[in-house]
């Protein structure tokens, strides 16, 4: 029996894109317990509702996170629309779903790159981010910015995707699909990658369910949980099934996310095939009075928005529950009994976004 030690991990660490601090209680090379500590990037975004009117807050809600920024703005806007009883045009719904899926594509490609960097495969990391750049160019083409979309407004969207843009998007997605197929082979069939990912950080279906995990992290353990199946926006018209794996280890999480890339590409193709003509926004009058909750599926998992209005310009309360917040208990569970050298991989496997979590 070895001597117990506490190894501090983070908030600055080469593998961490964002700051989280963990106190790892070690016995030899094995971790007995991990004690998290967050609060390094708290910005008080939810408190800004006391100063900014609810329309300006769309642009602030988007800045909760740089990666799932579109879905944050969309979730907040849809909550307001639910309070005010606004039914947006069908075309706006399809446009919102298109941008959601483009956001998922770039988020998953970013994560795959970070994972490759995490297990020390730098050229694979660059390859993933090279492909991701094409998706960012599509963002700039359709909304005018690479990451912060700013196209939502209460009652619809601000920009349309023209047929020429749709053609460009479909052509680019064909190229992206080919290239992702190529790197997928490396992620799933490469011997060294497998030896680094297989059997690491296993969580059973029961554990994932009890700890309340969300998103691809939960789906990798066999939990059939996808908020898109609730049928918001254009998803009722789209034919897709949540992607599930049963192994529950880091390899399964990587597998689920690579397959979700192809699913997103497929969903965008279906959206463009079924996109209706018509307006992209409806005029909205009045102020939000009442409260509502909306659940949407972000690239990282389920996000919950709660907004309470009082019939004035300034809202009473806004609350965002982000997927990383739900996945942190699962992360701590995977760490028990793991090696110190696997800690970076385990943290990456939940796709952490600490800025989201602290808001």
């Amino acid at each position: 029996m070895g001597k117990r030690k506490v190894v501090p991990f983070g908030p600055q660490h080469p593998v961490l894109p964002e700051p989280i601090h963990l106190d790892l209680v070690m016995e030899d090379e094995k971790i007995l317990e991990a004690v998290p500590n967050i609060g390094f990037v708290h910005r008080g975004l939810e408190g800004l509702i006391e100063k900014k009117d609810f329309n300006e807050l769309i642009y602030i809600a988007e800045r909760t996170c740089g990666i799932c920024s579109y879905q944050h703005g969309m979730g907040y806007t849809e909550t307001l629309e639910q309070i005010m009883g606004v039914e947006i045009p069908d075309r706006a719904k399809f446009l919102r779903s298109t941008w959601s899926e483009l956001g998922r594509l770039h988020s998953h490609l970013l994560w795959l790159g970070l994972l490759a960097d995490g297990f020390g495969f730098e050229s694979l990391f660059y390859e993933c981010w090279r492909i991701r750049e094409k998706i960012l160019d599509l963002h700039e083409l359709t909304v005018g910015a690479r990451l912060i979309f700013s196209v939502n407004k209460v009652g619809g969207v601000l920009r349309d995707i023209t047929p020429e843009m749709q053609k460009t998007i479909l052509e680019t997605l064909d190229v992206v699909e080919e290239e992702v197929k190529n790197i997928q082979k490396t992620f799933l069939y490469d011997y060294s990658v497998q030896s680094r990912l297989k059997g690491i950080g296993v969580l059973s279906l029961q554990q994932v369910h009890d700890l309340g995990c969300a998103g691809p992290f939960a789906r990798a353990s066999g939990l059939n949980l996808d908020m898109r199946k609730l049928g918001y926006d254009a998803y009722p018209y789209i034919d897709f099934e949540p992607i599930i794996s049963t192994d529950g280890d880091c390899f399964a999480r990587c597998d689920v996310r690579t397959r979700e890339i192809f699913q997103s590409i497929d969903i965008i193709r279906q959206i463009f095939a079924k996109m209706p003509e018509g307006d992209i926004a409806v005029p909205v009058k009045g102020m939000p009075n009442g409260e509502a909750t909306v659940r949407i599926e972000q690239p990282r998992g389920e996000a919950v928005y709660y907004v309470k209005g009082n019939g004035k310009k300034l809202l009473d309360r806004m609350r965002i529950r982000t997927p990383t917040f739900a996945n942190l208990p699962g992360l701590l569970e995977t760490m028990k009994g793991a090696d110190l050298s696997d800690v970076p991989l385990l943290i990456l496997s939940i796709d952490p976004c600490i800025s989201c979590t602290e808001r």
Partner: protein, 221 residues
């Protein structure tokens, strides 16, 4: 076997040109609708302050007296909300990101003398009204043709500063001069064009109430 999966990509990359562009030595290519920075057509600006009031990051400053429009490009988050809100459509987003600088500077645009002179009337002192919200209508003002007014209330609903009130039962149209920011949105939205922008000073700075005749609405035969 999977050993040479990545080898092909690696070999290909040996003979390809770099994917990155040597910016800023080589110019970056932006798509048409890229939201790089805000530009103003200052000739059209009426200093209504709507952009400054709605800016989420408080990057804009508008001085109605001096006729200036000031932007701190380092505070600007290029969200495009001012462009959407501008009643005169004098703001627009254009491609090209903010260039790096040694210190945070502000950029000021001044309205041309002609447009200021058109709006301002010589030598009449400004009267500050008692029930004021801080904004004082100094130069031009909105006047109404009571014979044409339908009392539809579109002007009231579109007023950004709640300066107008239309009462169909009492047959009145009233304007709070101290709240009016002379943006002209009521005039743009009026279906009968019964309102005009008078280039003279308003008579008072309080609430003026006019009796309207509720012109009959024309029906299609």
């Amino acid at each position: 076997m999977a050993i040479m999966n990545f080898g092909k990509t690696m070999l290909k990359n040996l003979f390809l040109k770099p994917v990155t562009v040597n910016y800023p030595a080589e110019p970056a290519v932006y798509p048409e609708g890229s939201r790089g920075h805000v530009e103003i057509d200052v000739d059209k600006c009426i200093s209504c302050t709507i952009c400054a009031m709605n800016c989420p990051s408080d990057a804009l400053k508008v001085d109605r007296q001096a006729g200036t429009w000031t932007i701190n490009r380092f505070d600007c988050i290029a969200c495009g909300y001012c462009v959407e809100k501008c009643p005169k459509k004098c703001l627009k987003m254009v491609p090209g990101y903010q260039e790096p600088m040694g210190e945070k500077t502000e950029e000021t645009f001044r309205r041309p003398e002609e447009s200021m002179a058109k709006a301002a009337k010589p030598a009449k002192p400004t009267v500050t009204a008692a029930p004021s919200t801080g904004i004082v209508s100094t130069h031009n003002h909105v006047s109404i043709d009571v014979k044409k007014c339908l009392g539809c209330g579109k002007c009231m609903r579109n007023c950004p500063n709640d300066a107008l009130a239309v009462d169909r039962k009492a047959k009145t149209w009233s304007i709070n001069r101290s709240k009016c920011i002379t943006c002209g949105l009521c005039i743009d939205n009026c279906p009968t064009k019964c309102m005009t922008m008078d280039p003279n000073d308003p008579d008072s700075n309080g609430i003026e109430t006019y009796e309207i005749e509720l012109a009959p609405i024309k029906k299609k035969d």
